[in-house]
Symmetry: D2
Subunit: 167 residues, 4 copies
């Protein structure tokens, strides 16, 4: 039977306010996601979420915004399909579960919660200019570090293919 | 600024087990949704959810499946983009909020909860072979009744355009 | 091992605005819940939720309010322990799952969604002046009807003991 | 009007598997929470959650377990009132919002997500043998460090009283 399932789903997680430098980085990450035929999953709002969706649309990609509020009107203009959860921060768990790998950019607390949930659910995490986390007495969690947007997206796609048996 | 937002989002709500007659009806509803360029929102699983997604794909539409479990593998094969919530029945609220109008088909309890939530959120409800609900001493809620799949989809699209100021 | 688990958990579901007659009925229901040593579960806000919690406290019962918003300040003054979900209407699923039986009073859409979810989860439903629901071609769902507050609470407690193997 | 609201709500967040040393520490933390007349909020399961609830009951405290699954049977035996969410990891957001301050013990990914959400929601965090988090180029988040169980609980109670205007 033909599968209608479209491309791999890559989540980009980052803050709703960010510097121009981070905005450009997130936009470039989104561009490579779109160019590779992957689907961009994000939180649907401003900052890194907007930038990554904007980049993905510039490469003719598809963008999904998983919104915390109760109205699709809060989506940024680069979101193709808003998912309206009404769950507040609890929607972060959906961002993560829906992604086959995530790219975490910059350092808000929301992003930190998404990194943590991804690690818990065995969803690969690529990090760019983001949190370092040091557990009590143990070794740091396995986060793939990337230096460029292109490298981050390649690493995320590779991680999807190798690791995500359960998805 | 150009809006990337794609077509209107019509939810089809119905049980995961159904008769062949209901299956065919849901498939026809999905077909008209796809044909009209609308996006199909559903729960992503079997029965009415599968039938409507199948119909939408037969008309080259786009299908979103908002899943209750923690794995995209539970999506039916006609889902383009699975949204993995892990929320169980609480995800019904997301099905409803994400839709600009819903078409309720047949009579499971999950469908009844989705009709109720849609009415609560002022999201228009089109009903086909579904629940009648009689409040204590009041008049029944406003559900648009439709006799054919084509009529149901037209009514849902009209309701989207007129009613959904907040979306 | 000693179980610390306290009494049975009875949910009272009803609208946040109601007539004085319904308010008094809900207060009496709450009173009997408290008197029987059961724990009152409710949505934590005004109307039927407030009345039932008030009644339970008048009988020295324990009251839990499962709130839709992000602040405990929205709890009514008769709630012992607010559970702050931030989930909006999706919290209705938690009201239901946390209860071993529910008593549905009056007829809002939120209450209808809670009746539907309880039926779906095999949680017994006692109804007072509430919705009648007629499925397509089938027989109505099994709702226990009660004429007085005392009878409703007795029926709910009996249903807890008999039916809820899974809880 | 008399407020029925009971004591302050302190969340204890930690993994479901832990060493005996951590178990004893969490039990002692729970004991001091109960002794101070505060209500223990936790995830309701094994490990640190069980230990803290056990300690709280040893001091005649009240314990609330906010469970991820769909059955109250998964609560540990020291939980007075199970809240059955069915939300999986998304329930972590409720643990945090329901607490007026949290004490994070040890270093699982779930705990890290709860620390992150608490910081996001301006809920004070006391840390014991837990994660250190270093943001990109910024200063670490404000976590109150405590050396003993008693000190941790005192710090959490102080933080509740000072900081939580919104709760």
């Amino acid at each position: 039977m033909q599968s209608w399932q479209s491309g791999p789903r890559i989540g980009v997680m980052g803050p709703s306010f960010c510097s121009p430098e981070i905005y450009n980085l997130a936009r470039e990450v989104g561009f490579h996601i779109g160019r590779q035929g992957a689907i961009l999953i994000c939180g649907g709002r401003s900052g890194v979420m907007e930038a990554s969706a904007r980049g993905a649309k510039e490469a003719n990609g598809t963008t999904i915004g998983i919104l915390p509020g109760e109205s699709a009107a809060e989506a940024n203009p680069y979101i193709d399909i808003p998912i309206v959860t009404g769950l507040g921060n609890a929607r972060n768990a959906i961002n993560v579960l829906t992604s086959q790998a995530i790219i975490a950019i910059d350092g808000s607390y929301g992003t930190l919660s998404e990194i943590a949930l991804a690690l818990k659910c065995n969803i690969p995490v690529v990090g760019m200019k983001t949190w370092r986390m040091i557990p009590p007495g143990g070794k740091p969690p396995q986060i793939i570090l990337a230096d460029s947007a292109e490298e981050a997206v390649s690493a995320a796609l590779r991680a999807c293919q190798l690791g995500c048996n359960r998805k």
